[in-house]
């Protein structure tokens, strides 16, 4: 058998390939063979492991300053709530200003 030809130096392997890259391949890809020890990775893999990883790494991500999703209304219900209450406050303030300018008319409409 001939030796494999030269490969470029590994990119991001080891330190650079993130844990997700490795787990993605080792747990999700690769050939599936039923061994004598019956473990169904699917039982664990998709739900438990991923959830745990996400939960476990949120704090770490925050430490690293990766928290943009918290301000993104599409990703965070808290951000969505914050945005709604901010809009509410702005609208209420604007309404109050209008009412001050036209007190009589506001009164008539209010009754």
């Amino acid at each position: 058998m001939s030796m494999p030809s030269r490969l470029p130096d590994p990119y991001g392997q080891g330190s650079g390939a993130n844990l997700a890259d490795i787990l993605e391949r080792v747990l999700d890809k690769g050939i599936v063979i039923a061994g004598d020890i019956r473990i169904n990775l699917l039982d664990i893999e998709l739900l438990t492991i991923k959830l745990r990883l996400i939960v476990a790494s949120v704090d770490k991500a925050k430490e690293m300053g990766i928290d943009w999703w918290e301000d993104d209304p599409a990703l965070s219900t808290k951000a969505r709530r914050d945005e709604l209450s901010r809009e509410n406050a702005e609208l209420r303030e604007r309404l109050a200003r209008l009412e001050e300018l036209e007190p009589r008319r506001a009164q008539e409409e209010g009754s």
Partner: protein, 258 residues
């Protein structure tokens, strides 16, 4: 008691020696178990960790899982340096050598067919991230909109900017994937990675794997490098060379092909 057999990979006989200091799971150097024209790469692992109940419990333990996955990958990596391994999924364990041999015999044809397809090829991983444009948009928003109409106009602008950046990211990802696919023998699109899981900044818009002949790898890497600075706001990351993890589903790809 000699323990259980953890199988990392199946490959064809190879001439070169594995790295001498390579340590596998349970501190056991990977052994080569030959059966008919194939080799299973195996470690002897203790029952206290790899019998059904402890293994199941361990898989719930992130630290154990991380260490095991890294070791598994290290062995596959060492094999990739000298041959074309067929990586098995983490946690493939047999009672003894004869269990491994029985499995190899039962799957012999499959192994040969997949090995034929990936022989002399490696997998490159390419991810594209759309970097957060939040900071660019921020100054455009005045603290207090002058009127309700201004306010609505600003809101529309922001929505449009988000849609634009999403579209830009999508078209860049499509372009890079098309170009790389044309330079690869096969490709797979994986689910985008969760930012909290990967720790990578930005939104992962492409997570793909490409099957590339070793001989064409240098060119492939240069191609990716050239695309790296192509579009502002987009980050391209390359990993590899990996064993052909993403290209081991034989039936799958054969169905795809006409």
């Amino acid at each position: 008691m000699t323990g259980l057999r953890y199988v990392y990979a199946v490959c064809r006989p190879f001439g070169a020696a594995l790295q001498s200091q390579l340590t596998g799971l349970g501190g056991d150097p990977p052994r080569l178990l030959t059966h008919h024209g194939l080799i299973a790469v195996v470690s002897h692992v203790p029952e206290r960790d790899f019998a059904e109940a402890p293994l199941r419990a361990h898989l719930e333990d992130l630290e154990w899982l991380t260490a095991t996955a890294r070791t598994h990958q290290l062995v596959i990596d060492a094999l990739t340096a000298v041959t074309t391994p067929l990586p098995l999924r983490l946690g493939t364990v047999f009672r003894d050598d004869s269990g491994v041999r029985t499995m190899m015999e039962a799957r012999e044809d499959d192994f040969h067919r997949i090995l034929d397809r990936v022989q002399g090829r490696v997998e490159w991983g390419v991810k594209v991230y759309a970097e957060s444009e939040k900071h660019e948009q921020e100054p455009a928003r005045p603290a207090q909109p002058a009127s309700g109409r201004d306010y609505l106009r600003l809101r529309r602008q922001q929505t449009r900017a988000t849609e634009d950046s999403w579209q830009k990211a999508e078209s860049f990802a499509t372009r890079i994937h098309d170009m790389l696919s044309a330079h690869a023998e096969d490709s797979r699109l994986h689910a985008p990675q969760n930012a909290t899981l990967s720790g990578a900044p930005g939104r992962n818009v492409l997570n793909a794997a490409y099957l590339v002949p070793r001989t064409a790898s240098e060119e492939f890497v240069e191609l990716v490098d050239r695309m790296k600075d192509d579009t502002p706001g987009m980050r391209v990351e390359l990993t590899g060379p990996w064993a052909a993890y993403s290209f081991t589903q034989l039936s799958d790809s054969e169905e795809e092909r006409p």
